[in-house]
């Protein structure tokens, strides 16, 4: 999952980005509205966290223009404006959620997870694929009820694949959703992470669920195995 944080406060940028990255979200940061719009328009983000009062372009303008381009990227408005008209205006412009400063980081994380889940069409906070259970909120994977210890990156892979069960996901797509622009990615970083993930799942007694589809990428399902 990849998140774009558009926020002009450097302190908030740093702490939110750190928290999101440690929770397994690749997070990109920009400090002004125009740049935020440019990045959001690329469509490679699952969630955009958007402040309203921004240099160069107001957050509401960013949202309006983003929606005008037909983008359906989930947007969480983050602002110190707490009046009902402010919230209504943001939601009417197409924001998926609204969080007023100051906030608890856990609440921000929960809201990001919720709107990301909705964006992927999953109403539930857990996704079951055979004996594998992916707990989106708890950031945990379980095999037959037993917890599997995964790194944030590994959990990000299994979460993304779980959101696309049965659909092949390319390495490039995984990369773009797992790594932000600051991450130092080696050419086989995704392959290495998938390999490690498979090994951990297998050790937990899980049958092979992550399959490689040559020329397409990876697919998570319980039926086929093509390698």
């Amino acid at each position: 999952m990849r998140v774009l944080l558009v926020e002009d406060s450097r302190s908030l940028q740093a702490s939110i980005a750190e928290g999101l990255r440690r929770s397994g979200y690749a997070t990109d940061i920009v400090g002004d509205g125009r740049q935020g719009l440019r990045l959001a328009e690329t469509g490679q983000y699952d969630v955009v966290i958007l402040d309203i009062m921004l240099p160069s372009m107001d957050g509401l303008d960013v949202l309006r223009r983003l929606r005008d381009t037909g983008s359906t990227t989930a947007v969480l408005m983050l602002t110190a404006r707490d009046t009902v008209p402010d919230r209504v205006q943001g939601l009417q412009l197409g924001a998926d959620d609204y969080l007023v400063k100051p906030f608890a980081f856990d609440e921000l994380l929960a809201r990001v997870q919720a709107i990301a889940r909705r964006a992927h069409g999953a109403a539930k906070s857990v996704i079951d694929v055979g004996p594998l259970r992916v707990d989106i909120i708890g950031r945990q994977a379980h095999v037959d009820g037993r917890s599997v210890s995964l790194t944030p990156r590994e959990f990000g892979i299994v979460e993304y694949l779980a959101h696309h069960v049965g659909t092949p996901v390319s390495r490039a797509e995984l990369e773009s959703h797992l790594y932000d622009e600051y991450a130092k990615i080696t050419s086989n970083a995704v392959d290495v992470a998938v390999c490690s993930l498979r090994a951990k799942l297998k050790a937990a007694g899980c049958p092979p669920l992550i399959h490689t589809r040559r020329g397409f990428g990876y697919v998570l399902n319980t039926k086929t195995r093509t390698e």
Binding site: S9, R10, S11, M53, D82, K101, P102, A104
Partner: protein, 487 residues
């Protein structure tokens, strides 16, 4: 506790006008009745008097029988005094005696039905109401007069014989019907007219008051219907009478000013809350993340340092807000001795010299060494320093700031980044900053946006005026902020 129901102007006026009108009508009717009663009674009494005089005229002192009075009325002249239905009555006495000279046949030998009056008027008459022998209400007149002697000519000698006049008392009584009947008709007519006019007055008063007070009622309803939580800019009431026009205009003016003040208050509260929320959010987010992922001691120390910086920034915001509050609520302090401007400006330049140097700014000072103004040194220093700090923040690196110091005047000019005419309308509002960027100390910008508000308040408190003008020329746009004090 019983709530006192407010009285209604219309109801009070209705009652007062109705009762007043009815009272006037009643007094008028009673006066008219009284006048008519007096007039009719006077006419009636005059008629009685003429009857009494006529009876006296036919009473003659008899020359052949001294001390004897002869009553010689023709029979046809006395028909009204004969015994019959509703007769009149008379009786004639020797004045001062009970000796009767004559009495009407209607009395049937009885005495006149009333006591003689104790006093009579100058013309010798007295009138009073009496009860007639047949029970009717009547009116009687007593006339004290003289029975003159008849002159008799002796047929033999041709000598004229006469005697002395004899005082007599004539009393005539008749029923009052001739007076009472027309008075009853008048009273009935007046009563009917009074009731009709009273009812008409009630209707007319109600209609007139309802129509006349309608503009007042509309104004009252409009004011009463005001939603104090969402005040309109004014009352939408047209065609008010001249008496209410001033009130409506003042109410509209008051509403406009109140709305503007509330809007300013709302913006200020919102902005203040916003300014404080951002650093609080920074602090909470920083602590939440560090508590969840403590990592190394070095990480924690770095976070604590950052938290302290944010705390310092919050303290700066609180201090600035307090300064603004003090400047807005400080009483005007008279400064009897003019404060020289030059030392104040030099001191302010010295205090901001580091910022000027960091941005590589140039300062041109056009200073009248003798310039002074009647402002206390503390306020003057704060005004000059805040204006200088603001100019430094908004002037691009390497730019120029011009200061002009004259008697009772301080002006500062700089080339601000991206400032427009519309910005001038808001730049003295608390927390206003160009492009509304709410930055914090961690964003690298130390600017709360209260400096110009403080300057404006201090200038106003010291009797001065502040103005901002944007001049555009080939050399670019320059902002001039000028503070002038009265001489």
């Amino acid at each position: 506790m019983t709530a006192i129901r407010p009285y209604s102007i219309r109801t009070v006026l209705e009652w007062r006008l109705t009762l007043g009108s009815i009272s006037v009508l009643a007094v008028g009717g009673l006066t008219l009745y009284a006048v008519m009663r007096v007039a009719l009674t006077a006419e009636f009494d005059a008629d009685l008097l003429s009857k009494a005089r006529a009876l006296a005229a036919v009473s003659r002192a008899e020359p052949d029988e001294p001390g004897h009075v002869e009553f010689e009325a023709a029979a046809e002249a006395l028909t009204e005094f004969l015994p019959r239905t509703s007769p009149n009555y008379f009786q004639i006495w020797f004045d001062g005696h009970d000796w009767v000279v004559a009495r009407s046949g209607s009395l049937a030998g009885e005495d006149f039905p009333a006591e003689r009056p104790a006093h009579v008027d100058a013309d010798g008459s007295a009138v009073m109401d009496v009860a007639l022998p047949d029970g009717r209400a009547g009116r009687a007149i007593w006339l004290r007069t003289i029975a003159f002697p008849e002159e008799v000519s002796d047929p033999l000698t041709g000598a004229i014989r006469t005697t002395n006049p004899i005082p007599i008392l004539v009393a005539v009584a008749t029923d009052r019907e001739a007076v009472d009947r027309p008075l009853r008709i008048v009273a009935t007519a007046l009563l009917a007219l009074g009731v009709a006019m009273g009812l008409g007055t009630v209707v007319i008063v109600r209609l007139c008051l309802r129509r006349g007070l309608r503009p007042l009622a509309r104004l009252g309803s409009a004011v009463g219907a005001l939603d104090v939580s969402r005040l309109p800019a004014g009352l939408a009431i047209e065609n008010v009478p001249a008496e209410l026009e001033g009130m409506r205009d003042r109410i509209n003016e008051l509403l406009g000013r109140t709305s503007a003040a509330l809007e300013r208050e709302r913006r200020f509260s919102g902005a203040a809350a916003h300014e404080l929320r951002t650093p609080i959010a920074e602090l909470l987010s920083l602590l939440d993340v560090r508590l969840r992922w403590p990592e190394s001691e070095a990480h924690c120390i770095a976070s604590m340092r950052e938290a302290r910086t944010i705390g310092e920034w919050m303290a700066e915001i609180a201090d600035t807000l307090l300064r603004l509050a003090r400047s807005q609520h400080a009483a005007t302090v008279a400064c009897p001795d003019p404060t020289p401007l030059a030392p104040v400006v030099r001191k302010a330049l010295e205090r901001v010299s580091q910022s000027v140097a960091q941005k590589r700014l140039h300062t041109n000072v056009d200073l009248d060494p003798a310039a002074a103004c009647s402002v206390d040194p503390g306020s003057l220093g704060s005004i000059v320093e805040n204006l200088l700090s603001n100019a430094i923040i908004y002037t691009p690196a390497g730019g120029t700031i011009d200061l002009v110091v004259r008697a009772h005047e301080f002006a500062i000019r700089n080339a601000p980044v991206d400032l427009t005419e519309s910005d001038l309308l808001h730049m003295f509002e608390p927390f206003w900053r160009k492009d509304e960027v709410r930055t914090s100390i961690t964003s690298g910008t130390l600017h709360v946006g209260l400096g110009l508000s403080i300057v404006q308040s201090l200038a106003a408190q010291s009797g001065g005026e502040i103005s901002a003008v944007l001049d555009s020329s080939d050399a670019g746009t320059r902002l001039s902020v000028r503070v002038k004090w009265p001489r």
